[in-house]
């Protein structure tokens, strides 16, 4: 390996890609969205609290009404405060129909002896997850408690029994307690989560640039000239480093602008509270970012070399994009429980480990075994990816005119030398 040549390639890739329109738009768009959000918060002033609660609620799951079939008489009529989220239904049959037609997300069938037994039939469509969701729902609890105690106890007690806890998050960091105000939930959980989301996007954008760079160099045939000057491994290494630096530049700009906004404008937007990303999340986020990028970049380099055109290479890369998308598909579950078993399993699978962990980290204390395990899996699978990727890269670059079949690709990977 000639490090000087790798650095020449890396610089070339960096300089070429940083000037791309797509990169500039993407880099500017994220801070621009941030400014827009803060401006809105400023303009709305006192209403920021409602917005914060509204945002928080969005992450809690479905907001559709719940049906109530009341045979006990305790829940009729429904109190005004609950009219929006609960609707009274005639019979169990009507409730079943409403659930089936999607008019309500679920229905509670409350028998006559409810007060003595606590028995409630929960009707939901689809899987059994809905029952758990309804049973765990704070809104359902509040609804039940509020109606049971109506007129029997003092108003304050009734309200506390219905909602015994109004959590106010305060984050302790560096000997300072910050995060007062209603938006603190958004800033302590949502912002780091969104940041993670963008970091992950950067992984795919950068490795997408890599795919594009390799595929176009092959398509324009300039690659033969290049590999007559440097080894394929050096070319691959240079590209991975150069385009990784492009991604890091983007992340850095985002982070700096985020800090600038939260630091500079926080005075203006008092309600915004403090922007806090715990150090642990930040450091681990960067570690996963680098590992995840390296793994994907190497695979993309190999795949980019296989197609005869850009389009073909992108199609071949599709399968990996699918793996990458799995953690996103699970976002809903992750908010409910970041340490759900499936998420933990996927944290140990090379192609999803980095992204899964990056999504889990901002949401909760992730077991240390998951952190260590996923890092070991990633570090361990990179040499394997390098071996396969380099082979595909070296052989694929010179196959012009036709796309290799799966059998041929397998042949390349398993061949000697």
């Amino acid at each position: 390996m000639d490090w000087r040549k790798i650095s020449v390639i890396a610089r070339h890739e960096y300089m070429t890609n940083i000037k791309r329109l797509g990169f500039i738009i993407m880099t500017v768009a994220v801070p621009a969205l941030g400014i827009l959000g803060l401006l809105l918060a400023t303009l709305l002033g006192g209403e920021a609290q409602q917005i914060g609660e509204f945002l928080a609620r969005q992450f809690e799951g479905s907001s559709q009404a719940t049906g109530v079939v009341d045979a006990s008489g305790v829940f009729s009529p429904i109190q005004p405060a609950y009219k929006e989220d609960f609707v009274s239904l005639e019979s169990e049959e009507a409730a079943a129909e409403a659930v089936e037609w999607g008019e309500v997300s679920a229905a509670l069938v409350i028998p006559e002896d409810y007060v003595e037994t606590g028995r409630v039939v929960v009707l939901t469509s689809g899987s059994g997850f809905g029952v758990v969701e309804v049973g765990d729902s704070a809104d359902v609890r509040a609804f039940l408690v509020d109606h049971l105690l109506a007129g029997k106890v003092d108003e304050d007690i009734r309200q506390r029994a219905a909602r015994p806890l109004r959590p106010e998050a305060r984050v302790v960091s560096g000997g300072e307690t910050r995060g007062e105000g209603p938006l603190s939930f958004v800033f302590t959980f949502v912002v780091p989560y969104v940041l993670s989301f963008f970091l992950i996007m950067t992984i795919f954008v950068s490795s997408g640039y890599l795919l594009r760079s390799v595929a176009t160099e092959k398509e324009t045939r300039v690659v033969e000239l290049i590999i007559s000057s440097v080894r394929p491994m050096e070319l691959m290494a240079g590209k991975v480093v150069g385009l990784g630096a492009v991604g890091l530049t983007q992340v850095l700009i985002w982070l700096l602008s985020a800090v600038a906004f939260s630091g500079g404008l926080v005075a203006v937007v008092a309600a915004a509270g403090a922007f806090v990303v715990p150090t642990r999340v930040m450091v681990l986020g960067v570690v996963y970012y680098l590992l995840g990028y390296t793994l994907y970049a190497i695979l993309m380099a190999g795949i980019g070399a296989l197609g005869t055109t850009m389009q073909e290479s992108q199609q071949l890369a599709g399968i990996f994009s699918f793996f990458a998308a799995i953690p996103y598909m699970l976002s809903g579950f992750l908010f409910a429980n970041p340490n759900v078993l499936l998420a933990r399993i996927l944290s140990f699978f090379p192609l999803t480990a980095a992204t899964m962990m990056m999504l889990r980290l901002p949401l909760a204390e992730v077991p240390w075994i998951d952190v260590v395990g996923s890092i070991v899996v990633l570090v361990g699978s990179i040499p394997g990816a390098l071996w396969v990727g380099a082979k595909l890269f070296r052989v694929g670059l010179l196959i012009y005119g036709k796309r290799p079949t799966v059998k041929e690709i397998w042949g390349i990977v398993t061949s000697q030398g």
Binding site: E217, I226, S229, G417
Partner: protein, 301 residues
């Protein structure tokens, strides 16, 4: 000094033998023609010389070293060629020179010089995709020698060039040879090989079928025909001169077909002895194209 030494080179792709026990030498400072029909194994051989492919067996030395170690002193114009479309013209040259190990500032100066040589100076800061086809071809050519290599391997450099650009490039190649560069030229344009090359290697099915000095090969394959022009009316030379099989009048001259073992010098001597007024006497040349077709076509049959 030898610039390239290939000894019993073999390269297979699965079941297909692309290069089969090939041996040849290119000496320093010569312009060497590498010829053969499509699929003869020329590009594979060149790619091995450029260290893009590894041989299965045999020995290859480029500028006295293994191909890996010689890369930086060799220039290469691939048959499958192209350039970065979105990169500026001069930046392209500088990048390619740097990949060959040339320092950035030196590459800058050399790139500017070459752009001037092919009339592209005004385009130095434009993107490659803005150039016309002819300009891109000129740029590709100078891209192969921007790092000032000792050995230049040109794979079909004239492909797709118009006559004006072909002439310009030919002049440039001759200039490089005069400057002492060793050049390997692979092309299908036989007239250019005849005009430029000292020695040639004709490949077919991965093997060498003709190898040596162009003149010697042409002599070997020349049909035993001599062309004779005289001021006087000639008698029927087929009867008079030993070894002459037939005499055909051709545009005021006579083509004499000789028996295979007969030396044209003996025929000339006989003519002079008979006091025939010889104004012109030449061994009829055979175009390289005919030799190519005969040798390769003969093999195919």
């Amino acid at each position: 000094m030898t610039a390239i030494c290939v000894d019993h080179l073999v390269k297979r792709y699965d079941e297909v033998v692309a290069v089969d026990e090939l041996s040849f030498v290119v000496t320093e400072g010569e312009l060497f023609g590498l010829l053969g029909p499509n699929g003869a194994g020329k590009t594979t051989t060149i790619r091995i010389l450029m260290d893009i492919l590894k041989p299965d067996s045999g020995e290859v030395k480029v500028l006295g070293r293994r191909p890996t170690e010689a890369k930086e002193r060799v220039g290469y114009l691939p048959e499958e060629r192209g350039l970065f479309r979105d990169v500026k013209v001069l930046d392209t040259l500088v990048y390619l020179a740097e990949l060959k190990g040339m320092p950035r500032t030196a590459a800058w100066g050399r790139g500017r010089g070459l752009l001037e040589r092919v009339d592209l100076t005004e385009w130095a800061d434009r993107k490659v995709k803005d150039l016309s086809r002819g300009m891109q071809q000129r740029l590709q050519f100078i891209a192969s020698l921007v790092h000032d290599p000792d050995l230049l391997i040109l794979d079909e450099p004239f492909q797709g060039l118009d006559p004006v650009n072909t002439e310009r490039l030919k002049g440039f190649v001759e200039e490089l040879r005069e400057a002492g560069k060793t050049i390997v030229l692979s092309t299908h344009q036989m007239n250019l090989v005849e005009a430029l090359c000292d020695r040639i290697l004709l490949m077919n099915h991965g093997r060498d079928v003709l190898y040596g000095h162009l003149d010697a090969i042409k002599q070997e394959y020349a049909p035993n025909v001599v062309r004779l022009r005289s001021t006087e009316a000639l008698p029927d030379l087929a009867d008079e001169i030993p070894g002459v099989l037939s005499a055909e009048p051709d545009d005021g001259a006579v083509n004499l077909t000789l028996a295979e073992v007969v030396d044209p010098q003996d025929v000339l001597r006989s003519l002079v002895e008979r006091r025939i007024d010889v104004r012109e006497f030449e061994v009829a040349p055979i175009p390289l194209e005919d030799i190519f077709v005969r040798v390769v076509g003969g093999e195919e049959r």
